[in-house]
């Protein structure tokens, strides 16, 4: 059976990737963010999994609005890095793990989570920035193959936080029932509080984010009980992305321990958070 080693929750703001790609990580505007990543990166380098599952959303790059799958999974051998309008990021393409993808798909569908299948998918900053947060200098390849899980967080109605948490729990069971003895890292991406449009653009809610960063470890079911409206009100219309952290958390043990947390603002228009959770209770 496969085993979850860790969960990494992180914002996926494009400018975090751009700051790395343009060598700005020591700039005063960014240094504290990247200093805050360092302990997590050091621990992750010592705990390299055989495969990673990245829960993310696309931002008008791999998908458009013709089809809006609530949940999806990539089943490809590899995923090209998308051109988001200014040329693709100069990072490695993403190698897939179709066997694990298809196992997860079957197991999740048997549990009532009917994911859309992506046999071809270009991945955008939603997936590659979290990989960069984990591995700043990947060289020719990311540390391991990746299974992308996609969530619609852009068009209302997004899935509820409760449904995301339940999907995560089913994902945890699906991982446990995999026939191969592999180790797994799970990345839950997006957030934290931010809003891009409307007269409330620029909204950030540090108190809410602090609460979320604590409860993602200690009381995820309390977070899963928040309604869409409450999430949009408290975290901003784009902060609702945080529901993807609950898929990661649901796939982990009920009791986990925090390796490292960091909070930074602003990364562009967004509060950026990181929470690295060890799947073993402390």
């Amino acid at each position: 059976m496969a085993e979850v080693l860790w969960g990494l929750a992180t914002s996926h703001v494009p400018s975090i990737g751009a700051a790395m790609d343009r060598g700005k990580t020591e700039d005063p505007a960014w240094k504290d963010l990247f200093d805050g990543y360092a302990p997590a990166r050091a621990w992750l380098a010592e705990h390299r999994p055989d495969v990673a599952i990245v829960v993310y959303n696309d931002h008008a790059n791999g998908l458009d609005l013709d089809i809006v799958p609530t949940f999806g999974i990539g089943t490809a051998d590899s995923y090209r890095v998308a051109d988001e309008g200014y040329g693709p990021r100069q990072v490695p393409d993403v190698i897939g793990d179709p066997d694990l993808s298809l196992h997860l798909l079957e197991s999740l569908i048997d549990e009532g989570f009917d994911l859309t299948v992506f046999q071809e998918l270009e991945v955008d900053h939603g997936l590659t920035v979290p990989l960069s947060v984990w591995t700043p200098d990947p060289g020719d390849a990311w540390p391991c193959p990746v299974v992308p899980i996609l969530v619609n967080v852009i068009q209302y109605p997004q899935p509820t936080a409760a449904r995301c948490y339940a999907l995560g729990q089913a994902l945890g069971r699906a991982i446990a029932s995999y026939r191969e003895d592999v180790t797994v890292g799970i990345l839950g991406t997006g957030g934290m509080s931010h809003q891009l449009a409307g007269s409330r653009a620029g909204f950030i809610n540090p108190e809410f984010d602090a609460m979320w960063l604590e409860k993602i470890e200690t009381d995820p079911s309390a977070l899963a009980s928040l309604s869409r409206e409450e999430l949009i009100r408290q975290a901003g219309s784009e902060g609702i992305e945080l529901i993807m952290w609950l898929i990661m958390r649901g796939a982990m043990n009920p009791r986990v321990s925090t390796v490292h947390k960091h909070y930074f603002l602003p990364a562009s228009n967004t509060a950026a958070g990181i929470a690295l959770l060890d799947n073993r209770p402390g």
């Binding site: 008008a60 609005l65 013709d66 809006v68 309008g85 068009q155 891009l196 653009a201 950030i204 540090p206």
Partner: protein
Amino acid sequence: MTAAPTLTEGTPMSSSEAGGRIDVPGTPIFDGQTSRRGLRLNKMLMSFRSADNRERFTADEAAYCAEFGLAPEQTQAVLDRDWTAMIDLGGSIFYVYKLAMMDGRSMQYLGGVFTGMTEEEFQAELRAGGRRHG
């Protein structure tokens, strides 16, 4: 028959006309009706992923809008770079941002437009911890 959605269909969920199921002041909700209104506009903005299309748009913006079947108000909003109108007419911020990037505009610039500030003022508010109450 399947008629194309009109721009008056559904409830506008702009910052000026909040309504519908979720009412958070100053917060456009990109819901199904909004997405129906904005489908053609968003499809055009999506096309900017390709360098060829970016060039063709730049060569004749109005003709390119016509090719994608935008409503007149949507075309006008695009030509005028009326970012608020693009959102009100069904644009998703992630799609609208593709046009802003072509113009060399940042998300902070757009934030300033949406909030009646300069880009610098908007950025200063973010650096000061974000806008708490909108």
